[in-house]
Amino acid sequence: MSINQNIIEKIVKIFLWIFTIITIFILFYIVGFILKNGIGGLSKEFFMEFPKSMGREGGIFPIIIGTILLTLAAVFIAGPLGIGTAVYLTEYTRENRITQMIRFGADCLAGIPSIVFGLFGFVLFVIKLKMGWSIISGGLTLSIMILPTIIRTSEEAIKAVPKPLREVSYSLGGTKWQTIVFIVIPQALPGILTGIILSIGRCVGETAAVIFTAGSSLRLPNSLFDSVRTMSVHFYILSREGISLKNAYATASVLIISIGMINFLSYWIMHRFIRRIEGK
């Protein structure tokens, strides 16, 4: 009986190991495959030059700029809203019907498929509000998409700020607002930043919501109302339309490397944040 159990225990363990290794292998395989085929295409020119003949040749300079601008637009819109929501949920109320509804709303928003955001953004911003395919249309659409992430992470970060710090501020004559601005937000900042960085990652990797709202222009934008093409969209078009596999791999490598750096950065900040909250 007990020998039997030991064998089962062993088998289970082996299976769990195997499944985990498969998962990790898939990850490394995907990353490795893209990098192996794409890293050779990376050069200073690839980053600094404009694409030629629809991206068959040349670099991705305007695409990098487009990606950055679109992401910034989304973060600048969603950041204040998300952080503000988190502040309200943590500092101004306790659990009640309204906060539950807000949280449920944010969860629902988080579950909406990106193509639905694309559909919505395309018809509302691009067509009805006549913003056209533009940074602003894309930024607004993406901001709705990343809002839940920012709310959730900011809320966690603000909750982690020790209550005594707030009380000290109150006892020293700080108003609620002053306490939020001078104590709570600075303390929670690393956690909030982590959420924002993760959202940046989502924006950079998004395609479905972007392609219908920000368009796919290869030109450098002059204003917020110009269309841009992000790296993901560029990669999609290059590979789907068979324009240039070499440049597709190179673009994908840039994408993967940026996502990797973004994840690493958020992890690093979070790690430091946790250490600080737990007292160095």
Binding site: Q5, N6, K13, F15, L16, F19, T20, I22, T23, I24, L27, I30, V31, F33, P80, L81, G84, T85, V87, Y88, E91, Y92, I102, G105, D107, L109, G111, I112, P113, I115, V116, G118, L119, F120, V123, L124, I144, L147, P148, I151, K176, W177, G201, R202, V204, G205, T207, A208, I211, F212, S232, F235, Y236, S239, A252, L255, I256, I259, N263, Y267
Partner: protein, 282 residues
């Protein structure tokens, strides 16, 4: 004092933005999409397999079945894999290794869906074509790619659920002479059940909603599949493939597609929400 009240009101308004936006999207999608239901009838729109916009034929059934097939396939492959990983990470894995594995899995979540789709096209599809037959771009390819894509979602949420089980449960069971696996199987997994179910539901939501990768690997043919080696089109693909040039009734039909998709996702979200709420009930 008044100023503080004003600030509080402002924050309240900001906090309502998420709800407001959700309502805006819901109302908008429904308003734009309801027309098609009225024009061609609810039953016909949902249950007719014929989709030919140029002939004004709008039936979603093929796409609905496409989404169902691909999603079920993704769950069959993805759920055992993800749950194994999360059980391993939570209960059997040395802490040091877990600390490396977790960020690695999060990185998996960060990889853009177009990259997954691309990998499916250049690696999976040729393999399927060669060894199993069919065009390669198929239900199977779509399911496999989606299975990988839902891994991080299912793993991280079920992992949270497993971690939330009090340590004393495990210790109590071990103290009664159960082996570690017996304890996990009989005590911890049941205790974390609601959270695990929620994780699967959310993974399902992710699979139903995924667009770009599915477009790239599943062939997009409008017909009800009879085998996993046939190409299919999902609801999401249907929108993304045609939104760029659709006008008039055709666009309404795409909004109708969005509406169906939206309703499915909302049902899944609500179900997941109910299950996560129940997590508290030990």
């Amino acid at each position: 004092m008044n100023r503080e009240k004003l600030i509080e009101k402002t924050f309240f308004l900001i906090a309502c933005s998420a709800l407001f936006l959700l309502a805006l999207i819901t109302v908008f999608i429904f308003k734009e999409g309801i027309g098609i239901f009225l024009k061609i009838g609810f039953a016909k729109f949902i249950f007719s397999p014929d989709w030919a916009p140029s002939q004004k034929q709008f039936g979603l059934f093929s796409m609905i079945m496409g989404s169902v097939w691909i999603t079920i396939g993704a769950l069959i492959i993805g759920v055992p894999l993800s749950l194994s990983v999360s059980i391993f990470l939570a209960e059997f894995c040395p802490k040091k290794i877990a600390r490396i594995l977790k960020p690695a899995i999060e990185l998996l979540a960060g990889i853009p869906s177009v990259v997954y789709g691309f990998i499916g096209v250049v690696i999976l599809a040729p393999l399927i074509r060669e060894y199993l037959g069919g065009p390669g771009l198929s239900v199977l390819a779509g399911s496999m790619v989606l299975a990988i894509m839902i891994l991080p979602t299912v793993i991280s949420i079920s992992l949270d659920a497993l971690h939330a089980v009090p340590k004393s449960y495990l210790e109590g069971s071990l103290a009664l002479g159960a082996t570690r696996w017996q304890s996990v199987y009989m005590v911890i997994i049941p205790a974390a059940r609601s959270g695990i179910i929620a994780s699967v539901i959310l993974g399902m939501g992710r699979a139903v909603g995924e667009t770009m990768a599915v477009i790239m690997v599943s062939g997009n043919a409008v017909r009800i599949p009879h085998s996993i080696l046939e190409p299919v089109r999902t609801l999401t693909s249907n929108i993304a493939l045609e939104l760029g040039y659709a006008t008039g009734m055709h666009r309404e039909a795409l909004f109708g597609t969005g509406m169906v998709l939206f309703v499915i996702i909302m049902i899944l979200n609500t179900a997941a929400y109910v299950f996560t709420k129940r997590k508290v009930r030990k």
